[in-house]
Symmetry: C2
Subunit: 436 residues, 2 copies
């Protein structure tokens, strides 16, 4: 029986035209991160499951992780996310590194997902993180990196927005203002996380089951109505949370100075899970009505190194997956046309004896940094140009019997249609036209 | 108990300075492959084990593969090599693609190895393959790609050599000349593969156990003595294998025209396993006495698509791993110094009030394509330069109380030590100096 030609369920084959799209996504990620002085790192594909247990939620470990026991009885998993690896690596070196530590990576990750739009089992994810920044400037910088990244893809505030919250505010509301117990706080976090996806009735039912008094319930509903930085500030101040209000205002002020205002929107329902984050939390949302969902999420954390018994080191980071990003760029028509490759010259010959000369010419052109596609057999004139088009070349060289006799080539510019007869030996003249 | 900070056994953490080396290796691979018009592809991390069983040797499947059963009862493996994925992908599209098909990839692969020098469990491997070339030109082109790749790392024929054989020759010797049965041929391949690593006595013992007649044994020993293209040609001709001799001579002639002669050496012991290859087979060897081993291997194959019930499509390819390549470049001192990153400007301020102005300056400089490292807190003059050095910047901007008052910066070139006072508003003047 013949083998199946399709890729493993939920994964993708990247044929050249798909790979060019991925390369484009990664190049813009890399250039943006490097424009902020972030340095690229990577870790192993496999980690011991212990590492994920220590950091991640139970759902991930139980249902979504690709885990198995290796031949040496180690219980390992294909990385489902990069942060645990990042924490492990930073824990090794943070003491001798000068701060801030700015790192980025674009690893492939696997989760056992039910394949559907925007969800695949293997995807790539940009991870940008900065450690050891003074005050709230790391949070501002990470937002800047995210915004400039989207700008570098050609997107603006008409395409996306950043919904933002601060875990310090959420904690102040639940614990200081509502006097919720830890168990109640846990349930409130879960409710907030779902608030936008459920009906009012369902929300009220869930809240009533938490066992809060009426005053606390009212505070909670008031909190859920907040939608501006001004609003949250005055809400906190009126409820005697001046310190939290001032700290958040100072952060908001920095975002204004960093030209982020038009992108940011306060959203009380953004909390991003229960553990881990301690400062701002945010999600970047597509504004397109057909693709209204989170593209990217991140936040600030204080205790990432705790599981390694290391001193606290504050950090902020975000992750952006290739699948959701590609959908976003496609729905907004921001993806460049990458159907065909980009090459410089298609070197051809029309008589069998032309092979040797053209192989040598191709070699010389490559040594000068050009991308050369060679024809390995005599090619009829009318076959040259369709192939040239598929290969995305700017120039074609031709060598018929006349040229062969004179040791010349015809060099044709496919855009201007200009054509030159040139001596094969005069590489300088050939290069001058190609590189003009 | 604190978690282990070390990576999973046999895998590597790529801290920024190691990642820069990997990026350098990959950039040269990509540029070289693209200079020949090869297009990048990639496939999934996991494949069904069936695919490897159909193509690879038993050792790989039984002992070296990371395989497990997924939650949907599929028996899958982390890819240990790229060729089966490549074959699966080419089988999907080869009918509608114009030939030759030139593809390359740099996937991460995993094998359950006992970690030792040059052997790790996760490595990356450049795979270059060309399909559907006329005659023997694909074989020549793949050798050219490999040679130019090493040249692009700064290596020459004093650093490496290509040991080459042709499976058509080996088959002619064993089957036509020695009249070996299939079972004997199988054993002879195994012996040839080991010939260089064992003593003469061990070799003779193994040969005597194959059960050949004396004439055949003598032919075998004569074959093992061959070491030049001339020698193999006359050996074949004398033994009535004119067709094979001519075909090989035609290949050798092309390699001369492609300037490959100084790199190539005939080696009768290169066979590269039993199945799969049908034309040339080669290994690139390091010439350094401390690192005398194969860096890279490849060859030509005719039946890669057979397992998918597809028509034969001839192909040639090679693979080069990142670990052996790095060792090669290090032993020959060909690796550039990548200890520190490369950035353009370190933007600093010496008074707290300088933050806003410098954040804006940094943003403007980034928009002009520069790599900017910002100081997020007031930095004393004497602290600026050690940090600048670690960050690999060419320029530093300073903003003390004088500059703050006048809305100016000092721009210092760290190489020439030239320093300019410039208006913050005059971005053009700042850029002119930086981009000069």
């Amino acid at each position: 029986m013949a083998l199946n030609k399709q890729p493993y369920r939920g994964t993708r084959d990247f044929f050249p035209k798909d790979k060019r799209v991925r390369d484009y996504l990664f190049t813009v990620m890399t250039k943006t991160a490097e424009s902020f002085g972030y340095e690229s790192y990577d870790g192993p594909l496999l980690e011991e499951v212990e590492l994920y247990k220590a950091k991640s939620g139970e759902e991930l470990i139980n249902e979504q992780i690709y885990s198995f026991t290796d031949r040496g009885e180690r219980f390992v998993a294909i990385r489902p996310e990069m942060t645990p690896t990042l924490a492990r690596m930073v824990a090794q070196v943070h003491r001798e590194q000068s701060k801030p530590l700015r790192w980025f990576s674009i690893p492939n990750l696997m989760r056992y997902e039910k394949p559907q739009r925007g969800r695949v089992r293997e995807h790539w994810q940009l991870n940008c993180d900065v450690f050891g920044t003074p005050g709230r400037l790391g949070e501002v910088e990470i937002l800047q990196v995210a915004v400039e990244l989207f700008q570098n893809y050609g997107a603006s505030s008409s395409h996306f927005e950043i919904l933002l919250n601060d875990r310090a505010i959420v904690d102040a509301v639940f614990k200081n203002m509502m006097k919720a117990t830890d168990a109640q706080t846990y349930r409130l976090y879960k409710i907030v996380d779902k608030a936008k996806k459920i009906t009012h009735e369902a929300l009220h039912k869930m809240v009533s089951e938490v066992g809060l008094d009426t005053i606390a319930e009212n505070i909670f509903y008031h909190y859920l109505q907040l939608s501006t930085f001004e609003g949250v500030k005055s809400f906190l101040e009126k409820n005697d949370q001046t310190e939290i209000a001032t700290a958040f205002s100072s952060f908001v002020e920095f975002t204004e100075k960093a030209n982020l205002t038009e992108y940011l929107k306060y959203d009380p329902t953004i909390v991003r899970g229960l553990d881990y984050y301690t400062g701002i939390v945010f999600e970047i949302f597509d504004k397109h009505p057909d693709n209204r969902r989170a593209l990217c999420g991140g936040g600030a954390y204080a205790n990432l190194l705790q599981i390694f018994n290391e001193d606290p080191l504050s950090g902020v980071g975000f992750g952006l997956g290739d699948v959701t990003l590609r959908d976003f760029l496609e729905v907004h028509k921001l993806l460049p046309n990458l159907e065909i490759p980009v090459n410089d010259v298609f070197v051809t010959f029309q008589e069998d004896d032309g092979l040797d000369a053209t192989l040598k010419l191709a070699q010389s052109l490559r040594k000068n940094g050009l991308k050369i596609v060679t024809s390995l057999e005599a090619l009829k004139f009318k076959k040259v140009f369709p192939t040239a088009e598929k290969k995305g070349v700017k120039f074609v060289t031709l060598m018929g019997s006349d040229e062969l006799a004179k040791n010349q080539i015809q060099l044709k510019n496919l855009e201007t249609k200009e054509q030159h007869s040139l001596d094969l030996a005069d590489l300088e003249a050939i290069l001058k036209i190609i590189k003009a």
